[in-house]
């Protein structure tokens, strides 16, 4: 074996010189080509005849073919009836994408309009051999909470129905819109310098570091605002006309779903972890009646998901307004939209274009902005459901701030013997009484006020009074609800009015038995157990450590006094990172024992520390954890972003023509050419030239690692080199031109 290498024709200077000399052109250090290649064009089609039913863009977010995109053009629905997803990729940057693979949906949140696909088949339908699937170019997710107003982003996607190459659309962040659960930025508003068509929906928005910060979203909103493309003669009548099925696409891109929303989906999918609530499988309640919005009102701020107060006008200089409204009959497939006019003129800054609904079937919702100056004027808010106006509201912004009586900052609990409010604020135990405490300011004696209590939307109590002088102008005031028979599990709301107008509203949940004064005992005896099937769980012994190679985890807990339909959250973490979170209506009896949840993965569970959390209204009510194997996730080197891509062309030195089928062996940085004994574990990556002599190393090269390379093929003198190193200042991709001399 060792005799082979001394006879090699060493061309170290050639290779090394080329590595150092042939740099890519990008000056900013962002590997734009990698981003463009990671952007895919997605066609949903019917499997029987491959008729295209929906189209959009997507982004590869993991080397093994995990694709992040929108749900609205991938998940089967009334408007997207296809059952096959075809993935087209950019081969040449100046050309339209080419179909290469088929994919399947492995995770989807229809309401958030996010879906994760995995490449599972070749384009011709054969299963993809995971071992032979190349390391695909993928992008890194950024922390989208770090995006700032006026930041420049680049939107990347396919602008047309497969006719155009991938498009990079510069854009500027013009604002953030908040919704429940959005932590201030459920949506990022962007203004693109060139129009970004709706087909780019599902693609990516990148910051200056080339990291994915958001997913452009533009859901078709039915007949009113969406476009429908006639692409094929689906009726086979020889014409493309109104008899054919068209492909719906959304309007131009103006909002992004922050990438932080996708982290949980990606984490779970990358690890292959599946969570199954065995006792009551997760379900979405079917909506009753037509979707509707009602009771709109404006609040200047949000406190713990509730309006701080209710206002009818806002002073000049206002920079924060939230539109609250009740909703019912909504589904994740419902598309809603907010349009705002100021003095009759549409104002895109405060609009929300058509997006999917993510709030469940009924409840209280809000949408608003903060930190955004509101010019003086008359604001008309109009909410649309599936392209039709559902409700509207007008508010005046302007004028000097006036001193007015205010009710604000409502919180719920149970008063202790000393008169202090106890509890976690919004989830109270079943018992005889509950209290709502709110702040009042600038009150005058004699002002009429009311408190109306509701249970599951039905009025159950009403208090009407006038403000008394001994209350004083400012302070806090408690109002109680003490229904006959006590408070039964369910959803409660209180509306507090002043002078006949709504002034404050809040809601809370009654669940669980009373522990102490006001703490609810909802989930009890939560523990992991040692079992191999769900049937064994009831009699299984508790466990907190599982051996390496465990195939499944089983969780068991009891529950008490949870009303049917109460939204509860099951959250799983591995090594403190969330990989599963699902909020669904409670669908089991009011009380019971041994609720079973199973977590498994294909083959075996990855080592790590698994934590489960049970919540209602974002309040943690129970948690436990267990370790598998060493209690820590293994490092997946391929999943690490960064590095440089190496590619090139191998040519005949005499003719200059590319040589097909030649192998480029890149040896791991742990070995030199002299150490290499043709063992796979010594190889970092292999590449084989195509018909033009081009090759690509699919794994990115680590900066500063000294690699070696061998090129040996029939009829040519072999070439070998040590010390192939990528410097920090090198930009990716790195191109090589390697001439081979005939033997």
């Amino acid at each position: 074996m060792t005799r082979f290498f001394p006879r090699l024709f060493w061309l170290l200077p050639v290779c090394l010189g080329l590595v150092l000399a042939l740099r890519a052109q990008e000056s900013a250090g962002v590997d734009l080509e990698r981003i463009e290649r990671a952007t895919v064009y997605i066609m949903q089609a019917r499997s029987e005849n491959l008729t295209i039913t929906c189209i959009g863009s997507g982004t590869i977010v993991r080397y093994d073919g995990l694709i992040l995109t929108n749900a609205h053009h991938t998940v089967q629905s009334e408007s997207c009836t296809g059952d096959t997803l075809i993935i087209a990729m950019t081969i040449n940057l100046e050309e339209p994408p080419v179909p290469k693979y088929r994919a399947e949906i492995i995770q989807a949140d229809i309401g958030l309009d996010l879906a994760l696909l995995r490449i599972t088949r070749e384009f011709d339908g054969r299963p993809v051999d995971a071992a032979s699937l190349p390391v695909l170019p993928f992008v890194e997710l950024a922390d989208s909470s770090a995006v700032t107003l006026d930041e420049t982003l680049t939107l990347v996607g396919y602008p047309a129905a497969g006719n155009d190459p991938v498009l990079l659309a510069p854009s500027v962040v013009t604002g953030f819109m908040d919704e429940p659960g959005g932590n201030g930025r459920a949506w990022m508003k962007v203004n693109t310098l060139i129009p970004a068509p709706g087909v780019m929906s599902g693609g990516g928005a990148y910051n200056r570091a080339g990291q994915l910060v958001g997913i452009p979203s533009a859901a078709p909103a039915g007949v009113v605002s969406s476009e429908c493309l006639l692409l094929e003669d689906t009726s086979s009548d020889g014409f493309i006309n109104s008899n054919d099925t068209c492909v719906p696409v959304g309007d131009f891109i103006s909002v992004l779903r922050p990438s932080n929303y996708a982290r949980t989906l990606i984490r779970g999918a990358a690890l292959g972890l599946t969570v199954q609530p065995i006792t009551a499988p997760a379900f979405q309640a079917s909506a009753e009646g037509a979707p509707a919005f009602s009771r709109p009102f404006i609040a200047p701020a949000v406190v713990d998901g509730l309006p701080s107060t209710v206002i009818g006008s806002a002073p000049a200089g206002t920079d924060s307004l939230y539109l609250f409204f009740d909703y019912a009959g909504m589904t994740p497939n419902t598309v809603y939209e907010l349009r705002v006019t100021v003095d009759g003129v549409p104002n895109r800054v405060f609009d929300l274009p058509p997006v999917r609904w993510s709030g469940g079937e009924r409840g209280l919702w809000y949408i608003g902005v903060t930190g955004q100056p509101f010019p003086n004027g008359v604001y008309e808010y109009r909410l649309f459901i599936n392209g039709t106006v559902a409700t509207s509201l007008t508010i005046v912004v302007g004028g000097a701030a006036t001193v007015q009586p205010i009710f604000s900052n409502i919180v719920f609990g149970v008063l202790d013997d000393a008169g202090n409010l106890q509890g976690n604020g919004y989830v109270l135990p079943a018992g005889p009484i509950a209290t709502a405490r709110f702040v009042y300011q600038n009150m005058q004696p004699g002002i009429p006020w009311t408190a109306i209590w509701y249970y599951e939307g039905l009025e159950i109590a009403r208090v009407t009074d006038v403000w008394r002088e001994d209350f004083g102008p400012s302070g806090t005031y408690p109002v109680n609800i003490e229904p006959p028979g006590g408070l039964v599990p369910g959803r409660y709301r209180v509306d507090i009015g002043m002078n006949g107008l709504l002034s404050l509203t809040g809601n809370f949940i009654i669940a669980g038995a009373q522990r102490g004064v006001a703490l609810p005992g909802v989930f009890n005896s939560i523990e992991f157990v040692r079992a191999t099937t769900p049937r064994e769980v009831t009699d299984a012994s508790p466990a907190s450590n599982y051996p390496d190679g465990a195939e499944a985890l089983f969780l068991r807990f009891d529950w008490e006094l949870i009303g049917r339909g109460i939204p509860w959250t099951l959250r799983w973490r591995i090594d403190d990172e969330i990989f599963y979170e699902q909020t669904v209506p409670w669908n089991s009896p009011e009380s019971g024992a041994d609720f079973i949840v199973q977590v498994d993965a294909p083959g075996r569970l990855p080592d790590g520390t698994y934590t489960v959390e049970l919540l209602i209204r974002d309040i943690l009510l129970a948690t436990t954890e267990a370790t598998v194997g060493i209690g820590q996730l293994a490092i997946d080197e391929l999943a690490q972003p960064g590095g440089a891509q190496l590619r090139g062309q191998i040519i005949d030195a005499e003719t200059g023509r590319g040589l097909e089928g030649v192998t480029f062996v890149l040896i791991s940085d742990q070995f030199s050419v002299g150490d290499f004994t043709w063992l796979q574990e010594q190889i970092y990556a292999l590449a084989i030239t195509d018909r033009n002599g081009f090759f690509e190393i699919d794994r990115p090269l680590r900066i500063g690692a000294p690699y070696s390379a061998i090129i040996a093929t029939d009829g040519y003198l072999p070439v070998a080199a040590d010390g192939l190193e990528v410097a920090p200042e090198d930009t990716s991709p790195i191109d090589l031109l390697i001439p081979l001399t005939r033997d």
């Binding site: 089928g661 063992l679 195509d690 081009f694």
Partner: protein, 198 residues
């Protein structure tokens, strides 16, 4: 114009004739040595021993060796242009009722799903040394470059599976090569089979 006549040299001496003959002999010996060295290099083999699977094999030198859950080991000639000539060895558990033909059918069904244009050419008995009997399944399919970003031209591959059952497990020895060079490469595989111990 002036003509110059060049005549042959004077009669060679005996020593000169001996020197010429010696030169030719040395050249022939060196050439033979070189050819022999080249042949021995080309036919040089490397041992592979897997105690767990009970297999000893000798595979061609400078072929790339790798292992995976699907097979005990695989070697490929990475210097070959186009499809890399491959020898692979895998084992499967079998029952008393399993025959070599059952294994061949199972392989055909599996490969038909994953290989483009997979077609079985022949299934016939194949005598192994030491009296072992085996089934030989020859087949063909189309192999394509897996990178989606390159313009790889598919290659027609011819394969040969030698299937034998021994001590409760089926041994599948696979040889694959470019259809254009299959016959030329086959002796390498036959040499491998001759040396294989299991």
């Amino acid at each position: 114009m002036r003509l110059i006549e060049v005549r042959g040299a004077a009669t060679e001496t005996r020593r000169q004739r001996q020197a010429h003959a010696l030169t030719l002999i040395v050249a022939a010996v060196v050439l033979l040595y070189g050819l022999n060295l080249r042949q021995s290099t080309l036919e040089a083999v490397v041992p592979y021993v897997n105690i767990q699977a009970g297999i000893t094999a000798f595979y061609p030198q400078n072929w790339l060796l790798d292992t995976a859950p699907d097979y005990v080991f695989r070697v490929r000639d990475m210097t070959r242009r186009g499809y890399k000539t491959t020898i692979q060895l895998s084992v499967q558990p079998v029952s008393d009722d399993t025959s070599g033909r059952n294994i061949a059918d199972r392989l055909a069904l599996t490969r038909a799903r994953t290989f483009t244009g997979y077609s079985v050419l022949a299934v016939e008995p194949y005598p192994l040394r030491d009296g072992f009997s085996a089934q030989a399944v020859s087949y063909t399919y189309v192999s394509q470059e897996s990178s989606p970003f390159l313009q790889g031209i598919p290659v027609v591959v011819v394969g040969l599976d030698i299937i034998t059952i021994s001590r409760g497990q089926a041994l599948v020895i696979t040889f694959r090569a470019d259809a254009a060079t299959y016959r030329q490469e086959l002796p390498r595989f036959e040499q491998f089979l001759q040396a294989l111990e299991f």
